[in-house]
């Protein structure tokens, strides 16, 4: 067995961006998870054992793509300990993956998808509506600052601490981060509302305030998990406006 180097961990981080490249309904991120770990397995198991080790990791796995980095680091550490002769059965590694997947998904989805992404989008859109050309850049920078940090740190911390990364301290830090992001979310929501009011106030049409209120009401009432997607609602609104414009001359 050869020693794992820092460059191997960097390659795990780089490959983790392809976690969903072979996403499929049967095993979801399974193949991507194995792909990301290949640089470690090449070192740990050599040419003969590498394919066998990869085959053990192509099974079902699904979590938040950014927070998957913690699972990659921790599972990589477990496999390294196994390769060094530690008495860890393969089933224990599978169980660790099965436990980490949903736990990291809950954490990552609420932090990245439900908080950071909307905050970055709201602030970026507000900047665009304020006439700045840097709105998209602001969105990219804000979103990726956290997203890339988690991707890199997750692999490093998972590798260093193994399953121990999931200790109380990390959960407390993430909870504090979530509270901070919630405050940013409220600021983003108010900034967006302000930008909308200013945008409509500048519109020449008399119907604009009423249409804005109707649209906003629909948007606020629209929750997750509706059978009818928000895109269809948008298309429906346009169809109604088109029908009105055609019939009422």
């Amino acid at each position: 067995m050869m020693r794992v180097r820092k460059i191997d961990l960097a390659r795990v981080v780089a490959r983790s961006f392809l976690l969903q490249a072979l996403w499929n309904p049967e095993r979801q991120q399974g193949a991507g998870f194995a792909l990301a770990l290949r640089p470690l397995f090449g070192r740990l198991f050599g040419r003969e054992g590498e394919a066998r080790a990869l085959a053990r990791h192509t099974g079902y796995f699904n979590t938040n793509p950014a927070f998957a980095s913690y699972a990659l680091g921790a599972v990589g550490r477990l496999e390294a300990d196994r390769a060094e002769g530690a008495e860890i059965p393969a089933e224990a590694v599978d169980r660790a993956k099965a436990t980490l997947g949903p736990a990291l998904a809950a954490l990552g989805d609420s932090l990245i998808w439900s908080t950071m992404r909307p905050v970055a989008a709201a602030l970026g859109v507000t900047w665009v509506l304020a006439g700045s050309a840097y709105g998209p850049l602001l969105f990219l920078l804000l979103y990726n600052a956290l997203h890339l940090y988690v991707r890199v740190r997750g692999v490093l911390v998972g590798w260093r601490l193994g399953l121990g990364f999931w200790e109380e301290g990390m959960r407390r830090r993430l909870q504090r981060l979530r509270v901070g992001l919630r405050v940013c979310a409220v600021v983003g929501a108010v900034a967006l509302a302000d930008a909308m009011v200013r945008h409509v106030a500048a519109a020449p049409s008399d119907t604009a305030p009423g249409a804005l209120v109707v649209g906003a009401g629909l948007g606020l009432a629209w929750g997750e998990g509706r059978r009818l997607s928000a895109s269809l609602v948008g298309l429906g609104l346009f169809s109604l406006a088109l029908a009105w414009a055609t019939l009422v001359r």
Partner: protein, 202 residues
């Protein structure tokens, strides 16, 4: 970002950005939580601004409201159709995953790189073809609609523009304050404060 780039190619980055910004608000209502297949707002972010900037030169008005709405509507349509395409692509990946199983069982570790390269190129080729096809088809439909009744289209867009901004903002605000009762109360307090500041500032 797609809107800004598409806009820059057509010589008006800021207008492209506006279409992209509104589509971004809609995208927030369909985030890929869990194993959900999201709507294809990546393609929508390229097709929407392109259609808007193309139709801008076809419409008789100088206002950007009508091209913006037509671009966003095109983007929403593409996002919905694109979701079906993403589902189809993902279902096809099952075959690649099974092929990978056989190769790994035969001791070919490098097959995992080949499978992913194939998956990425496949997705890119289908995505690029879909983007091109959707842009050409929607540009033709848009131009035909403008020639058929430009006046009705403009009136509809003037009415729909604030409604779509409102819908997008409503969806985004709902997502932003979804963190429980405390977040909603904080939002309400901030909103009251903001209204008071604006009212005092008049």
């Amino acid at each position: 970002m797609g809107g800004a780039l598409a806009g820059a190619i057509w010589g008006d980055a800021y207008s492209g950005m506006q279409v992209g910004a509104l589509l971004q608000l809609f995208a927030l209502a369909g985030l890929p939580l869990g194993g959900r297949t999201p709507e294809d707002y990546a393609t929508a972010g390229v097709v929407g601004p392109t259609i808007a900037l193309f139709l801008r030169h076809q419409l008789p008005t100088s206002s950007f409201a009508a091209p913006l709405v037509l671009g966003v509507v095109s983007g929403l349509f593409v996002a919905l159709v694109g979701r079906l395409l993403v589902r189809w692509l993902r279902a096809r990946n099952v075959g690649l995953a099974h092929w990978l199983d056989g190769e790994l069982a035969a001791g070919h570790a490098s097959a995992i790189d080949r499978a992913h390269t194939l998956g990425v190129f496949h997705a890119f080729a289908i995505g690029a073809g879909f983007t091109l096809g959707a842009t050409v088809a929607l540009a033709a439909v848009g131009r035909a609609a403008v020639r058929f009744d430009a006046l009705a289209l403009e009136r509809a867009c003037t009415l729909a523009e604030p409604a779509l901004w409102g819908l997008g903002a409503g969806l985004a605000v709902r997502q932003l304050v979804a963190g429980g009762r405390h977040t909603r109360l904080l939002f309400l307090a901030a909103l009251i404060f903001w209204v008071a500041v604006r009212w005092l500032g008049r």
